[in-house]
């Protein structure tokens, strides 16, 4: 999931010859790889992020085991499911809500946006390719964390066998897409205010909680859960994990994935709209 994903979601490319499209795709793959490389550039950083996710996984396991104590089941969720959910939630949030700031914001702030606009590849695809690259760089440490959880028996294979695994994979990809698009829209506020730091922090906090990465929506009071189900955040983490644990299955699972796909489309349109407004702003005000 590098370049092609990015191009298809933006719709920024209009009717262009096939050779041109291929060149764009190559450029995007290069950008993605570059950001993988820069994410892995400093050894101490890589080691620390690796150890960090492992420690976090162990700690959430301990907390959730303690929370359950000897209670076998709360609101229909048993202890092992809750623990396993917490593990995957920690892993997901590690990838989807990192503390990095979007390259877009940095470029706007430094006034480099005018140069970026002149490049043959659109700015939005560029930004997405970078985000995908950074996300991809996080995959190895997450695989490690999942393996650790499997070894210490805090996680089981997904419900529903091979088909279940496939559904989980599809739902995860869509969840990542929703998260990246949300990130992009928030980062684009940089065109209106130079201080996106606060907005990104609020977004990160809301997304973490509302996506169900910290605590599953199952445990939330009815009114809260009802509200969160209408927001795009639950499509980032809660939906893939519900598929994983088989709490939605069969046609319900298909429906949940369809809702995710709908969010991808809606957010892509929103991003496009915000982007055209931003572009107008840059053109009128000269960046």
């Amino acid at each position: 999931m590098t370049g092609p994903v990015a191009t298809s979601t933006t719709g920024a490319t209009t009717a262009a010859p096939a050779g041109h499209l291929a060149a764009q795709a190559r450029a995007l793959v290069a950008i993605g790889r570059q950001s993988v490389r820069s994410a892995l550039a400093v050894r101490s950083e890589v080691l620390v992020s690796g150890v960090a996710v492992l420690v976090r996984v162990v700690l959430v396991i301990l907390v959730w085991r303690a929370v359950y104590g000897s209670t076998p089941e709360v609101v229909g969720v048993d202890r092992s499911t809750a623990v396993a959910y917490a593990v995957l939630g920690a892993v997901f949030t590690n990838v989807l809500n990192p503390f990095w700031r979007s390259s877009l914001e940095v470029r706007v702030r430094q006034g480099r946006i005018a140069v970026d606009l002149l490049r043959p590849v659109g700015l939005v695809p560029q930004t997405l390719a970078q985000q995908v690259g950074t996300t991809a760089a996080a995959v190895p440490r997450c695989v490690l964390a999942v393996l650790l959880a499997l070894v210490i028996g805090a996680l089981q294979a997904p419900a529903g066998g091979v088909l279940g695994l496939l559904a989980f994979a599809v739902s995860t990809v869509l969840g990542v897409a929703v998260a990246l698009l949300c990130n992009l829209v928030v980062a684009m506020t940089a065109f209106w205010t130079l201080e996106v730091g606060g907005a990104l922090m609020v977004y990160r906090a809301v997304a973490q909680f509302a996506s169900g990465a910290l605590i599953p929506l199952w445990f939330m009071p009815g009114w809260l859960r009802g509200t969160l189900e209408w927001l795009p955040f639950q499509a980032q983490v809660f939906t893939p994990l519900s598929v994983y644990f088989g709490t939605v299955r069969g046609w319900d699972a298909v429906g949940a994935v369809a809702v995710q796909a709908l969010w991808v489309v809606l957010l892509a349109l929103l991003a496009q709209l915000v982007w055209s407004r931003a572009l107008h702003r840059v053109v009128v005000q000269g960046g």
Partner: protein, 290 residues
Amino acid sequence: MAEPPADGAAGTAAREPWRPQLREVSPLRAWWVLMATSLRVVFAYRSNLLNTALGSVALQGSQLLFVGVLLHRFEQVGGWGFGEVALLFAMRLCAHAVCTVPFGQHSAIDFLINEGDYDRLLLRPVSPFLQMLAWRFNPGSLGDLSLGVVVLVVAARLAPVEWTAGAVVLLVLAILAGGLVEAGVQFALSSLSFRLRATWSLKVTVDTTFADFGPYPLGVFGTVGSLALTFVLPLAFIAYLPATALLGRTDELLLPAWAAYSSLLVGPLVFWGGYRAFVHQSRHYDSPAG
């Protein structure tokens, strides 16, 4: 010399050598002069101030919400009820604010070193450590402080504690000491920047570990976990240990009961140790090539 004099250069004031007498400036005064300036700059940009403070409130608030939902469902965590966990959370957050409001600029160290701004600090007759702390002011820390105080006031009513004068004094001292523990740890991590070039993830990891796992009674982490979070990463000293003293729960400690008060001593010690580590490692500073 070969050029014609510019306007004003011929003025009479310029003719006598300029060698003024300089007073000694105490480090504390220098720090305050710089800090006051940073504060003035921050308060000049109101929208940014509000924006960033709100971000911090949201970040800490999401954790509060999480703990709230958890207790709403499970009623207790590790044997601690809602009021007790609330007090622990509030003490941790207030201690965090004690760390971030005056000392939060340790987070600038990577930037200072890699962008060469640390050179600039070394050219001034003030300790670079103090200059770093006053480098800028992070308005987010005001978010930590305000949320912390609000939650503390509420939690103090909910917690099963009789608020005698002694208890209030212990609470205040414990929060201050907890802030010193956190600051000391972050200073020590910052000192690694002089060798590693990037300690940002390390610091964020420790910061979020404190924030996310601070509100639980240590017992939930098991024996190994508790010991690790006491002696490897001194989370226990930030709020948990003194909280057990306030809540009369010292019998659940793996350590003797007096250990509940040890953070009052450990705080200043860790703070001093972190500062010394910073000063020591700063000798390895290699200014980046111009």
